[in-house]
Amino acid sequence: MDIKSTATKRSLASVVALGTSAVLLAGCAGASDTAESSSSSNAASTTSSEPISITVGTTDKVTTIDPAGSYDNGSFAVMNQVYPFLLNSTPGNAEMVPDIAISASFTSPTQYTVELKPGLKFANGHDLTSSDVKFSFDRQVTIADEAGPSWLLYNLDNIETPSDTTVVFNLLSENDQVFEAILSSPVAPIVDEEVFSADSLTTDDDIVAGMAFAGQYVISAYKFNELVQFTKYDGYNGVLGAAKNDTVNLKFYADSSNLKLDIQEGNIDLATRSLSATDVADLATNDKVKVITGPGGEIRYIVFNFDIQPYGAKTAEADAAKALAVRQAAAYLIDREALSTQVYKGTYLPLWSYVPPGLPGANESLKERYGASPDAAAAAKVLAEAGVTTPVSLNLQWNPDHYGPSSGDEYALIKSQLETSGLFNVTLQSTEWVTYAQERKDDVYPAHQLGWFPDYSDSENYLNPFFLDGGFLMNHYSNKAVDELLLEQIVTVDKAARVAMIEEIQNMVAEDLSTIPLLFGAQVAVAEASVEGVTLDASFKLRYGTITK
């Protein structure tokens, strides 16, 4: 889920740091593919006379390929191939570098200036100038579609175009270190002002018919959510370089098992988001394909509502010490290994703290505090010492339609784990996302499931939005000492000092247990054995241009 955390400062330094510390999935074959350098298979494709055609399968869906109308993985995966950006990261890196620009930098605290390369053209022959860039961002703000990413431009005041190749972004607040990341985000594809509408969404068919593309590929055939054919665009003159294949076909599946069958049978070359845990586990044993993994920022956790959980502040028998004991007992009893191996077959791994491994300051605060394996005796002890009568009745809420089909199994197992000791009596209930998203804020759920996909890769994005007073969890957790540290670390320039603070914060929250972290996920793709160049990196963008076979 993406929450607008506009108030927080973001630091690009840590985004860069993540690029080198890839979170690798243990035990899966072909993990080394993530580190594939972009120059390794250069010769093969450029000298070969045989055109290379790659077929990719996905279960993600496109909402629309108009950048103003969608903010989801499926749509962005298509946009990444066909629209250029001012700033971009190259495959294997998360660092922002100019894409179709010569330079891009702050020219004053509130002015970010981009100098475009000269002579850029869209595939339809239209010139790509500063006017198109201004148009692309202005229409995002004008249209402000609810499904679109226009809110990412919260810091943009206006855009000036002193010349055909110069663009100046005037910002509201000074030295916004995250603005560069935003210029490579879903809000920032550059589109053709002669094809797109300035004040309303343009239909996919009009975009395709108008050939309004200037990225590595153009779309040469388009069947909404069924099939897209990408053909290499020779006029692309950006940092990603020319695509190493000639055409890519993207086939959409509704059911991951069909995607799995097709990659297994060799009908497609690459299967990306998302195969089920069973599919990945089965394919990992298959010699004809290889499983490729990359860092993922997704985490899963249980939230406790401090007001209405057992012994919570608004319950009849309010008692903060007993309430804490209940949370701690749960933390003692949960078996993350079993969740990871039995339910997710290793596609999600145990998460022992609040910041996932790979990010600066990530530690294992809960493992140290509550032990690596379930401890029923310790749980019983902490409850007894607080004077809690057992079994504790706990209503645990989960959601069936937002976090994948395994959620049901995950929570059934958690219920079982909490209950085997006889300390808990858990009532599980699931609610559809629409109601769920509302009710979790309205003090209806004593304890509930949530997941988080970061807006940007920084440790801070896993702490401040959650635990600072008034955070999006709205679970009435408040700890003044934690608040102070949270606010201090975001303005701390010294990296080591900041890391120490982040670790300290995690240890403090692990004691209070505002949430119990459970699992974190990775990016997984499965390719035919002969396919090379698939790169899953911390930018979370999969570029078709590097893939060969």
Partner: protein, 347 residues
């Protein structure tokens, strides 16, 4: 099938009455759809709640008019439908009538295959069962018919996957064509959307073979469901007609039993089949939701399931209303056909 006996003796009058009956039928169906879908709540909160703030939701709900009295909305909706406007999907912003154009052909193609399978399997086996009534053959055929009905199509889909995708991977279990064929059809001029026709127009044996091989399993799964119904129907009606005086007369004149079955008794037994094909349209459309979902056959039923999962109730309401109109129209056409064919129908 509300027939109006004695209302007048002309075929035209019957057809006129039958035609006017379409309107109340459609009205009732659309009203049902409206009531059911709106009792879920307003569509905007359903599709976008949790993504937007409460204030933004309020604004959008007001702009779309969902805060007005329900009767006002109802009559406005009827007005829209009357003008042929079934609304646009909330999540992908596509007109519902466009969906019919894009995906209706896929559903039609599957339905035609299914009906063909049903006729080819159901009628001869039904005749056989009638001829051999009360023997082991009859019992076996009837068991087959019941099994065809008793096995949910998604279970059939899973079984077929186990057999044809995992154990003997010879037939494709998902999609309407492989990537190359689909690309060729997408890129051709004025594709009909019916893949078999398009593949034949492309003239490449490889494409035709590919399209047919993809259609076999879904066509069989949906077709056998209906074949069971046809089998029982033909059997019952044949037994009925074989006992009539007309056949008895033939029998006494020494006409061979096999000839009685194939020629004399067959035609009268066909009429209920035509009626049932019409009534099966609703069943087929219902079955198509599950069949298309199971085999990823991207037709209207598949889309409906996708929009249901996205909780896009404007799209669901639109598609269902559109299907209701189609069902009502088909039923009318079937009644007309029966009236023209069946000498027993009195006007």
């Amino acid at each position: 099938m509300a027939k109006q006996p004695g209302a007048g003796n002309s075929l035209l009058k019957y057809l006129a009455v039958r035609f006017t009956l379409i309107f109340p039928t459609v009205l009732i169906l659309i009203t049902m759809v409206f009531i059911v879908m709106r009792s879920i709540g307003d569509p905007i909160t359903a599709a976008l709640g949790g993504k937007l703030s409460n204030e933004e939701l309020e604004i959008r709900i007001e702009a779309a008019g969902y805060n007005r009295p329900i009767l006002v909305q109802y009559f406005e909706y009827l007005g829209q439908i009357f003008r042929g406007d079934f609304g646009s999907t909330l999540t992908t912003n596509k007109p519902i009538t466009d969906l019919l154009g894009t995906y209706g052909m896929a559903t039609l193609e599957l339905a035609v295959y299914a009906i063909l399978v049903a006729l080819v399997v159901g009628i001869p086996l039904g005749m056989l069962a009638a001829k051999r009534r009360d023997t082991a053959t009859d019992a076996g055929l009837r068991l087959f018919a019941i099994l065809a009905y008793a096995t949910p199509v998604f279970f059939v889909g899973l079984l077929l996957k186990l057999i044809f995708a995992v154990t003997f991977p010879i037939l494709p279990v998902n999609g309407r064509a492989s990537v190359n064929t689909e690309l060729a059809i997408t890129l051709m001029d004025n594709p009909t959307g019916i893949y078999l026709i398009d593949a034949i127009r492309l003239g490449e044996a490889e494409f035709i073979f590919d399209v047919i091989s993809h259609a076999i399993l879904p066509g069989l799964a949906l077709g056998l469901l209906t074949a069971g119904i046809f089998l029982r129907l033909v059997r019952t009606n044949m037994i009925g007609t074989l006992n009539t005086e007309f056949i008895e007369a033939g029998r006494s004149r020494g006409v061979r039993e096999s000839r009685l079955v194939t020629s004399h008794a067959f035609r009268p037994a066909l009429i209920p089949i035509i009626t049932v094909i019409g009534m099966q349209i609703a069943v087929l459309l219902s079955g198509a939701v599950l069949t298309e979902t199971t085999f990823e056959w991207k037709g209207l039923g598949f889309q409906l399931a996708q929009y249901l999962n996205a909780r896009d109730y404007v799209a669901v309401q639109g598609i269902v209303a559109l299907l209701a109109v189609i069902v009502a129209l088909t039923n009318f056409l079937v009644d007309v056909l029966v009236a023209l064919v069946d000498p027993r129908v009195k006007f």
